[in-house]
């Protein structure tokens, strides 16, 4: 959870200049970051100790064939040219072919991504619904038990290894108590009943009107989503608390109180209203962190999303798939960053 302090470290936005120029600057930095991402994945692809030619034709092919394939893969050209070719392919959505599934990596990613989206979105929803009120209450009663509770929740959330939490969760809630369903997205018996529309089990089963499938999906989703939701809650509650404390110290809060506004109105309307924009940034960052956090969680829960896809590809030395997944998650990260920056520019007049 290293994204935690990123809010504080976001480069301060200057106040001069027109909004369009600033948005243009944002677009420029996004393009640059994307270039950086592809350069890194390209380099990683080059340093792997596997000869890509041998990987295709085997080590007994005659030298002429080897040379021809090498030429076709452009491996005999300068690195800069190779990168140019690579970038062109990535921009056209060509992430190579997966060695294992023998399908384009992009197709594989499109197949597994909805599962991750379902998990991360549910977790973030839980984190927001519970975390924001907890943070607000903690700030409003600083030093009281709820404040300490939020502190403990935060400390535990920042310190616990998520894969271990998943295992213990399975042991307690699935094996011992039987409250939730086990690993995977659905029981085998329910698999394939609802036709795939969105790729998100809960939505698909609702569209098809299959309530049994829906309920089974909820039972499977419940545990992993709650665990990730807890991590999200820990972060959101702590950030909400400190953002709220900053507001409650300000003079307008005193002014509102002096005017006779009720405490609830001061807190929920005046103070909370003023932290909405940074709060959305916090939520976006926590969402990005969860997309990453799913890598370990999906492995524990055999959840067929992008995290499981990447780790399984790792063990099969399927580098195209690994790097494709890295680019996808990296792009989502960049998009979320862009979204929060634009939000600041558009919504918060002070940032203009």
């Amino acid at each position: 959870m290293t994204v935690l302090d990123a809010v504080a470290e976001k480069p301060a936005l200057g106040r001069d200049g027109r909004i369009w120029r600033r948005l243009g600057g944002l677009a420029g930095s996004v393009v640059l970051t994307f270039f950086g991402l592809t350069i890194v994945t390209f380099m990683i692809g080059r340093v792997i100790p596997i000869d890509p030619v041998v990987a295709i034709i085997g080590d007994r092919a005659p030298p002429q064939v080897y040379e021809r394939i090498r030429h076709e893969l452009a491996l005999d050209r300068p690195l800069a040219v190779q990168y140019e070719i690579y970038l062109g392919k990535v921009l056209h959505g060509d992430l190579g072919t997966s060695v294992i599934s023998a399908r384009p990596v992009l197709e594989d990613l499109a197949r597994v991504f909805p599962a991750t989206l379902e998990l991360a979105t549910t977790a973030t929803l839980l984190g927001v619904i519970l975390g924001v009120p907890l943070g607000v209450f903690a700030a409003a009663s600083q030093g009281r038990w709820i404040d300490h509770l939020v502190r403990v929740i935060g400390l535990v959330g920042y310190s616990v290894p998520v894969f271990w939490l998943g295992l213990v969760g399975l042991l307690v809630f699935y094996v011992q108590l039987g409250w939730v369903a086990g690993p995977g997205r659905l029981d085998v018996a329910f698999d394939g009943i609802a036709p795939e529309v969105t790729g998100i089990v809960l939505l698909d089963s609702l569209i098809a009107g299959e309530w049994d499938v829906f309920w089974n999906g909820v039972q499977h989703l419940m545990l992993p989503a709650s665990l990730l939701g807890y991590l999200s809650l820990a972060y959101i509650a702590r950030m909400t608390r400190s953002l709220m404390l900053d507001q409650l110290r300000q003079e307008y809060v005193t002014a509102a109180r002096v005017k006779g506004a009720s405490e609830a109105r001061v807190i929920w309307r005046h103070a909370l209203g003023n932290i909405l924009v940074p709060l959305i940034t916090v939520v976006a960052l926590s969402y990005a962190a969860l997309l990453e956090g799913t890598i370990l969680t999906e492995t524990v829960f055999a959840w067929p999303g992008i995290g499981l896809y990447i780790t399984q590809s790792l063990f099969n030395a399927d580098m195209n798939a690994v790097l494709g997944g890295t680019i996808l998650i990296g792009t989502v990260f960049i998009a979320l960053n862009l979204f929060t920056d634009m939000l600041y520019q558009l919504v918060d007049p002070r940032a203009r």
């Binding site: 640059l32 950086g36 290894p161 094996v175 370990l296 990260f333």
Partner: protein
């Protein structure tokens, strides 16, 4: 809160002692002033119970690693297939794993692995961030723009995924895991060091050093880096929890330390298949990870409150 502590301690003592010497309002020498300042910081730190708990956990980790052979860590590699998967007992405090190895011995031996990882990461990341940040902040101009762009690019990356891809490309192993974690951890340090450098760059003592003809290297090394250190150290302490979790995560996925090295994350992974009937194999190393990273979080919070109050 720290103020109250100092107030009460400033009251006259019945017998003048080293404490009064340390807290003297008018120190007689530089040494006394410096020691006194450290002592006051320490007192403020002691006022924070949670931070002390954190310090105790971290010290326990260091101590365990230091004396691990005395605690029987040598048994960490001793397999005994007749005694596999035994529950915790007097002979095996934490039970045994699937190869009949004593889990207590492996957890103790694992403290060295954890310490090795965090020390190496800190030693790589701290100086790297300091160099990039101070040079960037002091030189300004195009150097600053280029270095900070690179930093921003690295900061926008998904760290775990990048570390994963890097380790996979380089070959799984503890050294490559450390390298991958370091590569993805340094950017915030560069940012912190740069921010501090920019506030110092135009101050008069730097100007004085410049007028004396000090080179950029000398100014950075003697005047700027020492002043950036406290923020970097606080951040390092806070980050250590994250580093431990990432390293354990890589170990859990089989990309970190390779068997038979008793790395805690890898131990959780190896106990995974026995979780239903032999819960202790996977659970106990996980508790060790949790405790150590909790310790660093508590210690880091406490240090931040004492050394860097403006950020708290």
């Amino acid at each position: 809160m720290p103020d109250e502590g100092e107030m009460s301690l400033a009251l006259p003592h019945p017998r003048p002692g080293w404490r009064d010497w340390l807290l003297a309002a008018v120190p007689r020498s530089r040494l006394q002033a410096r020691l006194g300042a450290s002592y006051a910081t320490w007192l403020a730190f002691c006022g924070n119970t949670l931070a002390l708990v954190g310090l105790a956990i971290v010290l326990l980790l260091v101590l365990t690693a230091a004396v691990s052979p005395l605690l029987g860590a040598d048994a960490a590699f001793a397999q005994d297939l007749t005694r596999r998967l035994l529950p915790p007992s007097a002979a095996h405090w934490f039970g045994t794993d699937d190869l009949g190895r004593d889990i207590f011995a492996r957890v103790v031996a694992g403290s060295r692995v954890t310490l090795f990882i965090i020390i190496l990461v800190a030693v790589i990341v701290g100086p790297l961030g300091l160099v990039i940040g101070t040079v960037s902040g002091y030189a300004g101009g195009i150097v600053d723009s280029v270095l900070m762009r690179i930093t921003d690019i690295f900061m926008a990356f998904p760290r775990l995924v990048l570390a994963l891809a890097l380790v996979a490309a380089l070959k799984p192993g503890i050294e490559n895991a450390i390298l991958a974690i370091a590569v993805t951890t340094w950017p915030p340090y560069a940012r912190i060091a740069r921010a501090e450098t920019i506030t110092l760059r135009r101050s008069e003592f730097i100007l004085a050093a410049q007028l004396q003809g000090a080179s950029m290297f000398r100014i950075l090394r003697r005047h700027i880096v020492p002043l950036c250190l406290s923020s970097v150290i606080v951040r390092l302490t806070l980050d250590m929890a994250g580093v431990i979790l990432t390293a354990a995560g890589l170990g859990f996925l089989g990309l970190g330390a390779q068997p038979p090295i008793p790395e805690w994350g890898a131990m959780v992974a190896s106990g995974r298949q026995f979780i239903i009937d032999q819960w202790w194999v996977a659970t106990i190393p996980g508790i060790a990870i949790f405790l150590v990273s909790l310790g660093f979080n508590l210690l880091g919070d406490g240090l931040r409150d004492v050394l860097d109050p403006k950020r708290g």
